[in-house]
């Protein structure tokens, strides 16, 4: 049987770029497979996906050589327009790809373009609404949906065209654990029940690896990709989900990919976890929020929230999308002022202090780094912050080095990769030397290695006596580095406690290692290795 998708010796370079993004890539995907595409950021995952429907090279320009076949079509010759019924591509930012404003019309848009009869459209809309469990949203406006709902609508809109292949570029990078699970479950169901071929790129392996039949690993820019069963590929990769790391350390075979499979091995282990001291901080009180209420034109975002943070503390703020994390962070830097209650930051009451005074103490890195970056070079970007804070000019190189951005100081910030941009924004805030650092979703778009580096960096900041508060969906990151975890729900603090306690008593927020051993003393791979002795 011919493979459904076949790349034959594809070499592609973007315009104005010397190094090819894909170098002599030859891969095959069979019909009905669930294929996971992984690799550190900037190694061509998106490029590979976009060759499937001809967006590369038809939209991106550049030079391409080689052959791509998708279900008997040639996307390079036929172009994205003709490929629309063969390949459905869901891009990274679902919001940017919606054309019309209500869910039902969005689902019908592609079919209207195909000129399908009304009765057929009606039937297919019903079907995809059911398949993705979004029938209750059919008449809603897309702008009012949550991130997870938007993602499912974007997938449904592609499915309505009944493509042979569904390709998704990091579909869960902006979702909280619950919504991500919902999206992935829906995808698995499409794959299982309909035999739909799914090609998906993702950074958070622990979320998806158990669903994949095969993996494609892009080790570096222009390097030959590896392809095979997850059990084979994972062992050849420099990063892996916690379970696989454990399996590698203890030689568990066959390689377990799910908690269920790994528990067989874990049950035979005898661990002596030491009574670990909670990673608590004893520093002075840096942040104090008391009974804070806030609403956006009547819709309540914070409802009597109280929270304190000490110097030298690294705190992870978790909770569903829309639970009030960003609103809380904005309160801590004085961008929003409580309608009722009080926020005291480093001794300043935010209701009386000016933002200009507060930012001498607090640094805030917003979710989208592109809201910050504007200068021609990274160096100018950092110097601007120092000037704006009234600080004397300084050599910015040490800050860049700290964040692994050395050698990039003369680059145009907006051209950097997602991970680099994220760190550039962080550097642009850090040069003002704040004692309190607030980060909103700092791991969005970061690959596992960049995330590791960020975790170590933030721990270092906390050890130097800074207060670090990060809002994150990333359970493993929080398990890795946070001392305290605060879970918000509906604008209130639901749980507040040491990371070890909070993350081991939760269905959703427990780390993989914790789910495996069910021991509050074990959160990370490191913990297990130490307990082993």
């Amino acid at each position: 049987m011919n493979p459904l998708i076949e790349w034959q010796g594809i070499t592609y370079s973007y315009p104005n770029s010397a190094a090819p993004a894909l170098q002599d890539v030859s891969l095959q995907i069979e019909e009905g497979e669930f294929v996971l595409v992984v690799g550190v950021s900037g190694t061509g995952k998106s490029t590979l996906l976009r060759t499937l429907n001809g967006l590369v090279p038809h939209f991106s320009g550049g030079r391409i050589a080689g052959r791509v076949r998708v279900a008997g079509h040639d996307p390079i010759a036929e172009g994205p327009h003709a490929m629309s019924t063969v390949v459905g591509l869901v891009q990274q930012d679902p919001e940017a790809q919606f054309v019309v404003d209500t869910v039902e019309d969005e689902l019908a848009f592609g079919m209207e373009n195909q000129g399908l009869p009304q009765a057929v459209m009606r039937k297919r809309v019903e079907e995809v609404l059911d398949q993705l469990a979004i029938a209750h949203l059919r008449q809603r406006r897309i702008s009012g949906l949550s991130a997870g709902e938007k993602q499912r609508v974007a997938i449904a809109a592609m499915l309505a065209l009944q493509p042979r292949v569904l390709a998704l570029d990091e579909p869960t990078s902006q979702l909280d654990p619950q919504s991500a699970e919902e999206v992935l479950t829906a995808l698995r169901q499409l794959n299982h029940d309909l035999g739909l071929t799914i090609v998906l790129s993702e950074h958070r392996l622990e979320r998806v690896v158990q669903y994949a039949d095969r993996m494609i690993y892009l080790p570096a820019l222009g390097a030959q990709p590896l392809q095979g069963r997850p059990e084979e590929i994972l062992l050849q990769m420099p990063f892996a989900p916690p379970i696989v790391k454990l399996a590698q350390a203890f030689g568990w075979r066959p390689l377990p990919l799910t908690i269920k499979d790994a528990r067989r091995f874990a049950a035979q282990m005898t661990l002596r976890p030491g009574a670990r001291s909670a990673r608590g901080a004893e520093g002075a009180l840096a942040i104090q929020a008391r009974d804070v209420w806030y609403d956006y034109d009547g819709s309540e975002a914070l409802r009597g929230l109280s929270l304190t943070a000490r110097q030298g503390e690294l705190l992870a703020l978790m909770g569903r999308n829309g639970s009030g994390k960003t609103t809380l962070l904005k309160h801590l830097v004085g961008l929003l002022r409580p309608k009722r209650g009080q926020v005291v930051v480093d001794g300043h009451d935010t209701r009386q202090a000016h933002v200009e005074d507060l930012i001498q103490h607090v640094g805030y890195v917003p979710q989208d780094p592109s809201a910050l970056l504007f200068a021609d070079t990274l160096r100018q970007e950092l110097q601007f912050t120092r000037r704006a804070h009234g600080l004397p000019p300084a050599d910015v190189e040490p800050w860049l080095q700290q964040l692994g951005l050395e050698g990039l100081s003369e680059r145009y910030p907006r051209e950097l990769s997602v991970g680099q941009k994220q760190r550039a924004a962080l550097a642009a805030i850090l040069v003002a030397e704040p004692s309190i650092l607030l980060l909103d979703e700092p791991t969005r778009g970061l690959d596992p290695q960049e995330k590791q580096a960020l975790a170590r960096f933030l721990q270092g900041q906390a050890q130097e006596g800074h207060t670090v508060i990060m809002a994150t969906h990333d359970v493993e990151l929080a398990a890795e580095c946070a001392q305290r975890v605060v879970i918000l729900g509906e604008g209130q603090v639901v749980v507040d406690g040491p990371a070890r306690e909070v993350m081991s008593q939760s269905l959703v927020f427990a780390s993989q290692v914790n789910k495996l051993f069910r021991d509050p003393r074990l959160l990370t791979v490191q913990d297990v290795l130490e307990a082993q002795g």
Partner: protein, 361 residues
């Protein structure tokens, strides 16, 4: 929404005609009340009514401004209310009743026009209107609709960027400080529009072309020749008004050719519509009312053009007139408010057709 798109277009035509043709303040007030009742009912059913209320507050300010300007700067008229010292620049001199009345009237007319368009925007969204654009012009229509939805995105994007830069210490002191705000705004907007363009293309937008390459050429030729004919006709009209009929023939040919071009292009694109709107009894009633209102206004206008015009300065009487027939026409434009269905009805939206067979088991 409660009515068919065509019904709302009829309503817009009638109400806008009344608002634009009329200058008499009393009739304008009746029209404002009538259209205002439609606006109130509509905004109660539509959450986005809030933003249009802000637009109307702007309208009230415009009204007051028109009043103040006219009163202070136009010193014509006989009935002096108050005299400011002549030495004051511009505003010095008599303030007259006529100027006050004229300011009030022109403000009322302006507000009536604003109110009509605010109401129409509240009840109809651009996407719904787009479905009725002929297939040949659909692409142009989509571009407009995307541009429309970009504006609110840009506004919210700007707010986000301002916040982000502010906590970075950015303060607005001069024009140069706009750079940190506008560079991220523009680049982000461009990046987003590229993604959208890709997405639209990847979802087969532009329809499936049935015809051969010849159709495309025929369309282009048609449009080109049509536009040339239009242009020549206009130039002829301007230069040789004595033989106007030649120009008129050219103009007619131009319009016909362009119409044919659009029609041909529409046939070349195969595109279907998912929604089907229902024409209900209340649509018939509202349309008839709108037709009646427009006919009444036209009738009065032909019989007595001065019933609609208003000029309070001497030698005319400063006091406004009121023509009952025009008042009735204005009141008729309130019909949508009274025939509006009860809120619970599910028929508030255009419905998709029912499935004949083959519902998923």
């Amino acid at each position: 929404m409660a009515y068919h798109t065509f019904t709302w277009l009829m309503w817009l035509a009638a109400a806008a005609y009344l608002a634009l043709a009329n200058q008499q303040p009393l009739q304008a007030v009746v029209l404002i009340l009538a259209v205002g009742s439609v606006f109130t009912v509509a905004s109660r059913r539509n959450p986005s009514g809030q933003s249009w209320s802000a637009f109307l507050r702007f309208g009230v300010w415009a009204w007051l401004l028109a009043l103040a300007f006219n009163l202070l700067f136009s010193h014509a008229g006989n009935s002096v209310l108050l005299t400011l010292p002549r030495s004051w620049p511009l505003i010095g001199g008599p303030l007259t009743l006529e100027a006050l009345l004229f300011g009030l009237a022109s403000g009322a007319n302006l507000f009536a026009v604003l109110l009509v368009f605010a109401t129409f925007n509240l009840v109809i969204d651009a996407h719904r209107l787009l479905r009725w654009i002929p297939a040949g012009l659909y692409q142009a229509g989509l571009v407009i609709s995307i541009a429309l939805s970009f504006v609110p995105q840009m506004v919210s994007g700007l707010a986000e960027i301002r916040e982000a830069q502010r906590i970075r210490g950015h303060r607005f002191r001069g024009l140069r400080d706009l750079i940190p705000l506008f560079v991220p705004l523009i680049t982000t907007a461009l990046e987003r529009s590229l993604t959208l363009a890709e997405s639209i293309e990847a979802r087969g937008f532009g329809g499936v072309l049935k015809g051969e390459a010849m159709t495309a050429e025929a369309v282009t030729t048609n449009l080109l020749v049509g536009l040339m004919a239009l242009l020549c006709g206009l130039i002829w009209q301007a230069l040789r008004p004595s033989a106007a009929w030649v120009g008129l023939v050219m103009l007619a040919c131009g319009v016909a050719l362009i119409g044919l071009g659009v029609h041909l292009q529409g046939r070349g694109v195969r595109r279907t519509h998912y929604r089907r709107e229902l024409w209900r009894a209340r649509d018939t009633w509202v349309s008839l009312a709108c037709l009646a209102a427009a006919s009444l206004a036209t009738y009065v206008r032909m019989r007595d053009p001065s019933a609609l015009a208003y000029y309070p300065y001497p030698p005319f009487s400063p006091w406004p007139r009121f023509t009952p027939l025009l008042g009735l026409a204005a009141l008729l434009s309130a019909t949508p408010a009274f025939l509006w269905p009860a809120p619970s009805s599910r028929g508030d939206r255009p419905v998709a057709p029912t499935v004949q067979a083959g519902r998923r088991a």
